[in-house]
């Protein structure tokens, strides 16, 4: 079932030209996109390509200036739908410090359900469920600013989960994290996806794209390509054009296979690839 649908959506920002006149800058332009329930979709592109604008259009933080965004059958342009839409689309942003509303983990996670008007007893239940899902139950009473970046971001995910959304949008949520923190957050995202959550992962790390169901490539506010990770990695002229590179292992496997080595061009496990190369050399 289709859960999110964008029809020819455009959004322009106000921009000031050098001579002081007001012009506009493209946020996104003519984007048509559909996300199926249960999918793990990655949205990639260079800085300023419109990824984050697109994310903000998904839960009505920004409203399309033309076109229609539909979430679970509800249009974001209708004001009375917004609350329902935000209940369905949980969002986690880039800077973990700027999303914390409380200075105790469990109180922060409780913020969403409190806003929904959930009865007091059920809030605690939701909070502990959510913390359990991101593996942070032990930190319920700690203060967020003493945690690591990856832990803070998992708390932010728990904050979104406590609302019980159908879609989780991670808007560059891994961009400010160290490799370990990134791994933690991605593992949580994949685990949630395995349990049926639709995940939209916005990122500029191509390694994170590997295990996604589909990849949306954006450039200059336009969607330039949609496909499986393999389809996107194989289309090297496209990647060059938008200034992205396939993950190192993928690139290496592709090049080795082109050079006549007997390796799987789709191999993603670096260790396995190394083994295959050695076997080739032995022959």
């Amino acid at each position: 079932m289709e859960i999110i649908r964008l029809d020819n959506v455009s959004y322009y920002y106000k921009a000031y030209n050098d001579d002081g006149t007001v012009g506009s800058a493209v946020g996104v332009e003519g984007v048509t996109l559909s996300v199926e329930e249960g999918d793990f979709v990655a949205l990639v592109g260079h800085n300023g390509c419109g990824k984050s604008t697109l994310a903000k259009l998904l839960n009505g933080l920004l409203l399309p200036q033309s076109g229609v965004v539909t979430v679970n059958g509800l249009k974001t342009s209708e004001k009375e739908n917004i609350f329902e839409i935000r209940k369905n689309v949980g969002m986690v942003f880039q800077n973990p410090d700027n999303q914390m509303v409380a200075s105790i983990v469990e109180e922060d996670v409780a913020f969403g359900p409190e806003n929904l008007g959930v009865p007091q007893k059920e809030i605690a239940e939701r909070v502990y469920d959510a913390l359990e899902q991101v593996g942070m139950s032990d930190y319920a009473k700690s203060s967020p600013h003493r945690l690591s970046g990856g832990q803070k971001q998992r708390i932010a995910i728990a904050g979104a989960l406590a609302i019980r959304p159908k879609v989780l949008v991670l808007d560059e949520s891994t961009a400010m994290l160290d490799p370990l923190g990134r791994k933690e957050v991605l593992e949580v995202a994949h685990k949630l996806n395995a349990q049926g959550m639709t995940v939209v992962l916005i990122t500029h790390f191509m390694e994170e794209v590997l295990d996604c169901d589909s990849v949306v490539v954006m450039n200059g506010g336009h969607v330039v390509s949609v496909g499986t990770p393999n389809e996107i990695f194989d289309n090297r002229s496209l990647l060059d054009e938008v200034g992205l590179r396939a993950p190192r292992t993928v690139e290496l496997a592709q090049k080795l296979s082109e050079a006549g080595f007997d390796v799987n061009a789709r191999e993603r496990d670096a260790r396995k690839l190394g083994g295959d190369v050695c076997l080739n050399l032995k022959k």
């Binding site: 609350f83 209940k87 410090d97 999303q99 200075s103 105790i104 109180e107 359900p113 809030i123």
Partner: protein
């Protein structure tokens, strides 16, 4: 220097004071702060010291973190103490100053016994005010404090005072203090790395040197505010309407005990104050 600001920094522990209802703690702290101004003599200050130490002990907050809060007002302390020292005259005109110095004709600096006493008292009063309120913030999470303020201000809703919004602003301010301090530290270091000089030159030059800190801090603050607003909106924030609350505040025996102790103590303080001003006879009240 910036790390010394403990205000708004919760010290997690499992103690009698931590478990008390935040509303009671807030009211008792207010009672304490008013009470401090009715303390007239060093003997009673001694009693207050014993009370404070007992509270700190029961709260299981290390004395060091409590005292650290005083560092923030050192300048104020020294300033007010000095003013009191030099500008308090003797009890009557016949009293001789302890020390006097006349740098030129018609101008004398004099120190009286009274000045010494009032300087010491104002010093103690300010320190005790800060320490007392600091115990509240060290043992109460900003969120609890906010709930307490919200709950105590509820009657004001009748006059359309935005109680919930006020409480939320308070809580956000408190919880953003650590990250803002961190950011200020970072900006200072970044500017120093580029050769900014904050420690030399006259007052004007030094004040000007802080502009390159304030501007990035302000700009960063606006960026933060926008991101926070987005995050809050994304989590279905729609103001106070139909909002529920995870935490239920319940009074317990602890609150009763603490209230009794504090009320009895400060009733004593108020009574002594009343007696001393009425009769002036109980001599030790003045020392």
């Amino acid at each position: 220097m910036l790390r010394d600001v403990t205000f708004g920094q919760y010290y997690p522990a499992d103690s009698f004071v931590h478990k008390m209802d935040a509303r009671i703690k807030l009211v008792l702290t207010l009672l304490y702060m008013v009470g401090i101004f009715f303390v007239q003599s060093f003997v009673v200050f001694g009693f207050v010291t014993v009370l404070l130490l007992a509270v700190v002990l029961v709260s299981r907050v290390p004395l060091r973190s409590v005292l650290r809060s005083v560092r923030g007002i050192v300048v104020l302390l020294v300033f007010t103490a000095i003013l009191n020292l030099f500008f308090t005259k003797g009890a009557d005109a016949s009293e001789q100053p302890l020390w006097a110095w006349s740098p030129w004709n018609g101008f004398t600096i004099e120190i009286y016994v009274n000045g010494l006493k009032s300087a010491a008292k104002i010093f103690l009063r300010l320190v005790y005010l800060v320490v007392g309120s600091c115990i509240l913030t060290l043992t109460t999470t900003p969120v609890d404090l906010t709930h307490a303020v919200e709950s105590l201000l509820k009657p004001l809703r009748v006059v359309k005072f935005p109680v919930h919004e006020f409480a939320l602003i308070m809580s956000l301010t408190l919880s953003f203090i650590p990250s803002l301090i961190e950011e200020t530290d970072r900006i200072i270091r970044a500017q120093k790395a580029r050769g900014a000089d904050f420690d030399t030159g006259g007052l004007v030059k030094r004040a000007k040197a802080f502009v390159p800190i304030l501007i990035p801090l302000l700009v960063g603050g606006f960026r933060r505010a926008e991101e926070l607003a987005n995050a809050m909106n994304s989590r279905c924030y729609e103001g106070a309407t139909k909002r529920t609350c995870m935490r239920v505040m319940k009074l317990s025996w602890r609150d009763l005990v603490a209230s009794l102790v504090m009320v009895i103590f400060f009733t004593g303080v108020f009574l002594l104050y009343g007696m001393s001003s009425k009769w002036g006879g109980i001599v030790w009240l003045y020392y």
